[in-house]
Symmetry: C2
Subunit: 167 residues, 2 copies
């Protein structure tokens, strides 16, 4: 999939009766230049734009990010912080999944074409059309394990009951 330019974005928007605005273009730009593995929340996106001297209202941020996710330009991630994060939607072979530490929220991406392939097969078998598939793996990261998790339970702590293949 070719990266969007102002023109291709405009074409795609107009084809649906929507408009290319400076705000939408700038938002896309931020995501296109985001380092691999980074994800932005609505507020983080706003801060990024502010620092660039291109302030955009939060309302517009939310609206744009939602529209672009629905268009398939962005991917909406439900990780573990109480708010959504977004990243550029990159189909195969850049499609990837996430593992998140429930202790510190550290997030690591990983590729696995096989999962996509299996999902596609499963989905089509049921007569559905696949839009996206995200495997979210909740874990305890090495640092948390090293620090003796789950000893200091109280405030932020999670599950001991791990899933395993008892084949």
């Amino acid at each position: 999939m070719i990266p969007y330019t102002a023109n291709t974005l405009k074409a795609e928007l107009n084809s649906r009766g929507w408009r290319l605005t400076p705000q939408r273009e700038k938002i896309l730009h931020v995501f296109q230049n985001l380092p691999r593995g980074d994800h932005l929340s609505a507020e983080e996106l706003q801060h990024t734009l502010e620092e660039r001297g291109e302030p955009i209202s939060l309302s517009t941020i939310y609206r744009s990010v939602k529209l672009m996710a629905r268009m398939g330009i962005l991917r909406e991630l439900e990780l573990a912080e109480g708010h959504k994060h977004y990243e550029l939607h990159r189909p195969h072979p850049h499609h990837h999944h996430h593992m998140v530490c429930v202790q510190c929220n550290k997030t690591v991406e990983f590729n696995n074409d096989s999962i996509l392939k299996q999902s596609l097969r499963q989905v089509e078998k049921e007569g559905f059309q696949l839009i996206d598939c995200q495997l979210t793996v909740t874990t305890i990261c090495p640092e948390a394990l090293r620090m003796g998790w789950p000893s200091g339970l109280p405030s932020n702590w999670a599950c001991t009951r791990v899933i395993s293949e008892d084949k």
Copy 2:
């Protein structure tokens, strides 16, 4: 994994310094008797209990459900309705994933041990400890497709940019 009884639940709670209460027991009971494929939101859970003549305050519902998810007794699902859903956590071989229609929110469960196995391998390779892995597949269901999706865009509509294996 053996289904919980009042006793095993009590043991597990007490081992962490928590207590077995009638509320927690009733909540577990609801989930244990929920038909396969059903998921409850906090409010739905409250309604269910109310109908049974066992009213529990929403505060307690939220607290219990969160605690039990962290203990690994329940699984927290981020599907597509703006609120969380819960189901009983059933490890292998009952572990499963979900496909959701972005048009009508219809949710279908499917099993796939291979995904769990691959996640486990991936996670351990990075030195993490796996707690849970959920593949959420966003789709368009057959009914929506049959009705000509995505013709009537406006209000509830989603992405055309589908992912595919262009192998």
